[in-house]
């Protein structure tokens, strides 16, 4: 029975592993950190899987565990903050010497996302994944109104970075 559950889990995980990669992409800024977080989320998903009854969609369940793991996992934050600052500075310098091409805009936006707090990263992630506000609110444990207010603030912030 255990083997059956395990097999089912691995097959489903294999099909949906992109979700985890995307969480890692938002929360980490180098490949090592990405792999570490990916592994931890995989372990947490597997631990929780026997209790997954399918009341929610598999993706919803994966978002929740993925984000929770990313937000609560202990990471050496200092070093990654330094690299992020560095990257952002680099992007800014490039941006001033280049035209506002779409490529540059994207670079800037991703750099800006990396600078957000852990909570805001979760919100923007769910937004990018086209999750509706009711579900975002449920995932984060805040009210729908507050989720909207906060999201608008993040959106405005990202837009101001592009159009100062």
């Amino acid at each position: 029975m255990d083997k059956e559950i395990e097999h089912k889990f691995i097959v489903e995980f294999e099909q949906n592993q992109n979700i985890i990669h995307k969480v890692c992409r938002i929360y980490t800024s180098n490949q090592d950190a990405h792999n570490d977080l990916f592994q931890e989320i995989a372990i947490q998903l597997w631990k929780a899987y026997p209790k997954f009854r399918g009341e929610s969609k598999l993706s919803t369940w994966m978002y929740r565990i993925g984000l929770n793991t990313a937000i609560t996992l202990y990471r050496k934050s200092k070093r990654s903050i330094v690299t992020q600052d560095f990257e952002t500075v680099l992007y800014r310098i490039e941006a001033t010497s280049y035209d506002d091409t779409e490529e540059e805009q994207l670079k800037l936006m991703y750099a800006a996302i990396h600078q957000l707090t852990d909570i805001d990263k979760a919100l923007i992630f769910l937004y990018l994944e086209d999750v509706n506000y009711r579900e975002i609110a449920e995932t984060m444990g805040i009210s729908e109104v507050n989720a909207r207010v906060r999201m608008n603030r993040i959106k405005t912030r990202l837009k101001t970075i592009l159009n100062p």
């Binding site: 395990e6 889990f9 691995i10 097959v11 995980f13 294999e14 592993q17 992109n18 990669h21 995307k22 570490d36 592994q39 931890e40 995989a42 372990i43 947490q44 998903l45 597997w46 631990k47 929780a48 209790k51 997954f52 369940w61 929740r64 565990i65 984000l67 929770n68 793991t69 937000i71 609560t72 996992l73 202990y74 990471r75 934050s77 779409e102 805009q105 994207l106 936006m109 707090t117 852990d118 909570i119 979760a122 937004y127 990018l128 086209d130 449920e138 995932t139 984060m140 444990g141 805040i142 009210s143 507050n146 906060r150 959106k155 990202l158 837009k159 592009l162």
Partner: protein, 212 residues
């Protein structure tokens, strides 16, 4: 096109570039050891329970012989009995809180439960420090109110020593030891909180502030 819609489109387009793990790689991965914060908190908490539980065993027997001369043994026996009851209560609370931590809960609730579990153990440590200080004070008051017995025990016969000076040194040494212990414990908690829980605390406060 709206910048954010543009970002969303790119976000989805980049999915193709992610590496794909095979069935076997996933199998290996999920059987590796977790390094989650909850696991670390659990290990640290158990270590703390053991530390404060076992510290009693390292008090040398001779100390109790001294207390007996002051008729303090009954008091210490009762204090110890009560102490163990409190310890079991703390362990029960810790276990109960630990069990409520679930990664499937919403983010706010999850962080709240982790911090609550950790707080239980903090209260346990505060309790131990307060108990330690309190017992030290009581023992000292009793002992110093009978300086004759104290001098008889502590100063070997025939030794020439000013008894007032001796009592003065005793008090100073006791205070220094007490302060040093408190400093060590304080430093330890700065490290635990500074390293392990700072981010979690910050994230929790941020999420809480959204709801105000």
């Amino acid at each position: 096109m709206d910048e954010l819609e543009f970002l969303k489109k790119d976000w989805k387009a980049r999915e193709v570039s992610f590496p794909k793990l095979s069935y076997n790689e996933i199998y290996k991965m999920i059987h590796k050891k977790s390094s989650s914060i909850v696991k670390w908190i659990f290990i640290i908490c158990i270590a703390e329970f053991l530390f404060w539980g076992l510290i009693n065993l390292f008090i040398p027997e001779s100390t109790f012989a001294i207390y007996e001369k002051f008729n303090l043994n009954t008091f210490l026996f009762i204090a110890q009995g009560l102490h163990y009851m409190v310890v079991f209560f703390f362990i029960y609370l810790f276990y109960k809180n630990y069990k409520t931590i679930s990664v499937v809960d919403n983010t706010g609730l999850l962080m709240k439960n982790i911090l609550k579990t950790r707080k239980t153990v903090n209260y346990y440590v505060y309790y131990n420090i307060i108990l330690y200080v309190l017992i030290s004070i009581i023992l000292n008051i009793v002992m110093f109110s009978h300086p004759d017995i104290l001098i008889e025990i502590m100063i070997p016969k025939n030794a020439v020593l000013d008894s007032d000076k001796f009592l003065g040194i005793m008090i100073v040494v006791q205070i220094i030891v007490l302060l040093a212990m408190c400093a060590i414990i304080w430093a330890y908690y700065r490290i635990i909180y500074g390293i392990l829980l700072k981010r979690l605390n910050r994230n929790f406060k941020e999420l809480e502030s959204l709801e105000v």
